[in-house]
């Protein structure tokens, strides 16, 4: 758990420049809740201890993100919910349609099945079907991703399924800086946003400004620049791709690594402009390969940048199977820097001298 401390309201904030992804998310929530009294948070074990005697706010959420919010904002705004996703999300959407700005937590994105009607057939369609008379400014925070040995029902990456649905925005921060700025932007957005936090990134530290800031949704971040290949990656796969890019650089192969940060809306221009320069594309996603964001981006590029391509598009994804429990198999399941490097080499050809 992070040791970063959030200062109570009123005192001059003083904290170290580098904080964890988890702390950045918590800071975004606290600062937004201070600014806007209509923002409420709700979810399982958001604080912990509701309705029971003894210590309150024992958990601050399953991953510690919401720790401390209860003390500052009280149980009217920080609500532990029953273990019932359709109720959590349903209540959040209802509240959003009636003047609140809820941030609801779906503890693992695997549980999305239980609230799929709310996220597929209700929230994203209200503005459209009610002719703009209803807006749903709800943010659904959820945790996704594999790698920490919690098996098939707690390790999936379902961002592609939600990207498919018009009316939903889908956000996937890969760093502490992006996490804070994108969460603030998501909360301020008047449409339903599903915010995917990677389970393996909570402890990752980075420089994060103390003041609130909002990163526009639909703007990619270019993490590395290089002329031989464009690598597009999401969430924790950004770090994996950067490791591959840095390794490839020593062989004289220079890679551009693009982190779209949001799958919906998608920054198509940055991707297409980069492929126009490099002529090669590798897409890296830890989701399953059928009908995923990797195929989506591959089709976009094949359609709109065909004449720039000098090699087939390569996708590095998990296989079409579930996340294994056995550690050796889980590691084999996930994309790795080695797999990304191999994909790049397969389309760049022999290593060049630097």
């Amino acid at each position: 758990m992070s040791t970063n401390v959030m200062q109570p309201e009123g005192s001059r904030p003083r904290r170290k420049t580098r904080i964890s992804y988890r702390a950045a998310l918590g800071e975004a929530l606290a600062q937004e809740m201070s600014r806007d009294p209509t923002i409420v948070v709700m979810g399982e074990d958001i604080a912990g201890g509701m309705g029971a005697p003894g210590v309150q706010d024992t958990w601050g959420g399953a991953f510690g993100v919401t720790k401390g919010l209860l003390g500052r904002f009280g149980r009217d705004r920080v609500m532990d919910t029953p273990l019932q996703e359709s109720a959590i999300i349903g209540a959040a959407i209802g509240a959003a349609s009636n003047g609140l700005r809820p941030v609801a937590e779906l503890m693992f994105n695997n549980f999305i099945g239980v609230c799929m009607d709310q996220l597929m057939n209700q929230a994203p369609k209200f503005r459209y079907m009610f002719g703009g008379k209803l807006t749903t400014p709800v943010t659904i925070r959820t945790v996704y991703g594999a790698g920490i040995r919690v098996a098939a029902q707690h390790s999936s990456a379902y961002h592609s399924i939600l990207t498919h649905i018009p009316g939903l925005k889908v956000v996937m921060p890969s760093s502490a800086y992006d996490a804070k700025g994108l969460l603030i932007a998501s909360i301020r957005d008047d449409d339903p946003v599903v915010f995917f936090e990677h389970i393996g990134l909570f402890d990752k530290e980075g420089d994060v400004p103390e003041e609130p800031y909002a990163i526009p949704l639909g703007e990619a971040n270019v993490v590395r620049e290089g002329g031989d290949v464009t690598i597009v990656a999401f969430g924790r796969m950004v770090d994996v791709s950067v490791a591959a890019a840095d390794s490839l650089r020593t062989s004289g192969i220079s890679c551009t690594v693009i982190d779209p940060r949001t799958t919906s809306p998608l920054d198509e221009d940055t991707i297409l402009e980069s492929v126009a320069e490099t002529g090669r594309l590798v897409v890296v996603d830890e989701g399953n390969p059928r009908c995923g964001i990797a195929t989506d981006i591959s089709a976009l590029v094949a359609d709109r940048a065909f004449d720039s391509l000098t090699a087939p598009i390569k996708m590095v994804t998990a296989p079409h199977c579930h996340v294994p429990f056995a550690p050796v198999l889980e590691d084999a399941y996930l994309p790795s820097a080695e797999k990304v490097e191999a994909a790049v080499r397969s389309i760049v050809g022999a290593a060049r001298a630097p």
């Binding site: 001059r12 003083r14 170290k16 420049t17 800086y177 700025g181 400004p209 103390e210 003041e211 609130p212 800031y213 909002a214 990163i215 526009p216 703007e219 971040n221 270019v222 620049e225 840095d246 650089r249 020593t250 004289g252 940055t270 402009e273 630097p354």
Partner: protein, 356 residues
């Protein structure tokens, strides 16, 4: 700045090198630039090859006199690397702090220590303390050096009521008082130069010497469409194009420099403050405060440094200043001359300050 990439060596092992020769191209997060040799001698070893990134503080080359034995060089390299710790280098590396002042707070980065008169670096419009990335460490060898963020910029207070040159100068004076700095060498770039000059004019006892780098305040003309671009642009590609205005060599605009400017503007209140300051200082397209007379009469050493290819504020503003003010034109450099010709600027700064 955590690490640097050695992107190109200009010399080979065994070559003779003179102080000031271009030695190696280094890319950092914010800017790529050429590093000039600090010493004369023979380049004995390239410790870090081209294409490799190393953490701050790492040994990347060895220059020695011609007859130094190879065995001695090897021993030195081995000794350095066995005792070098990235964690120590990082810890030793300064991080920005924030100090309360009346009306808000100012973020600053302090490097260097000792009893010598400190230097204070003041950036220009739309920038922040990172403007001095290639200058602060060099100056900090011999004295404490404070690089500050002006109000409305970087990590300092975002209050749009701090909008005129007078307001900004007062805030910087408040910073000096908060840090108990009673005598400082002021070094200001662009709008920061006008701020420094204003402080020197109002409180000359505070200022041991004044260095103005491509300053505002010496004439009416300013590239107002550049100022407006800094305020209005929100897209990376457009901002990268706009930032090229700052340099003689547009290739110096790095992706991280562009994102640094954009990210700073995304902080709540930043754009409102930039608009207020643009209006407060440059009104309808011209500089509002002309301090030529005050600067000419200052009872303290003043130097003016200007890149001759400056497309933001005309270098002609440095003409016809009184003879006691040293004027240093710099060739093949644009407005951000302290980034573009860091080696030369650092020499000019050290030389001037050490005299005083």
């Amino acid at each position: 700045m955590k690490e640097g990439l050695i992107s190109k060596w200009h010399l080979n092992e065994g070559d003779t090198v003179n102080q000031g020769d271009e030695l190696v191209d280094i890319e950092t997060e914010k800017v790529a630039n050429v590093y000039e040799s600090p010493h004369s001698g023979v380049l004995k070893r390239k410790v870090v090859p081209e294409g490799r990134s190393v953490p701050i503080g790492s040994l990347f080359g060895v220059i020695a006199s011609k007859d130094t034995a190879d065995a001695e060089i090897e021993a030195y390299v081995e000794q350095f690397e066995s005792t070098f710790s990235v964690a120590d280098a990082e810890e030793g590396g300064a991080i920005p702090e924030v100090v309360d002042v009346p009306g808000g707070y100012i973020r600053f980065l302090k490097q260097g220590q000792g009893a010598a008169v400190p230097a204070v670096l003041i950036h220009g419009f739309g920038a922040d303390l990172n403007s001095w990335l290639l200058n602060q460490a060099a100056l900090a060898d011999s004295r404490p050096v404070y690089a500050i963020d002006l109000p409305g910029h970087g990590g300092s207070v975002k209050d749009p009521r701090i909008a005129t040159l007078e307001d900004i100068a007062q805030a910087v004076i408040a910073f000096l008082e908060a840090k108990s700095l009673s005598s400082v060498h002021l070094i200001g770039h662009s709008l920061g130069g006008a701020v420094a000059a204003k402080i020197a004019a109002e409180r000359p006892a505070l200022v041991k010497s004044l260095t103005l780098i491509a300053p505002a305040g010496l004439g009416k003309e300013i590239n107002f469409s550049f100022i407006r671009a800094l305020v209005d642009i929100d897209r990376r590609k457009d901002m990268a194009t706009a930032l090229e205005t700052l340099f003689y060599n547009p290739a110096l605009v790095s992706r991280d420099m562009t994102m640094g400017v954009l990210n700073a503007k995304r902080i709540d209140g930043a754009v409102t403050c930039l608009r207020a300051i643009a209006t407060g200082c440059f009104g309808s397209g011209e500089q509002k405060s002309i301090l030529r007379d005050q600067i000419s009469q200052l009872p303290l050493p003043v130097q003016v440094i200007w890149g001759q290819s400056d497309r933001v504020i005309p270098p002609q503003h440095a003409q016809e200043l009184p003879g006691k003010i040293r004027v240093h034109p710099v060739e093949h450099a644009g407005h951000a001359v302290q980034l573009e010709k860091a080696g030369e600027i650092n020499r000019l700064l050290s030389h001037f300050i050490d005299q005083g």
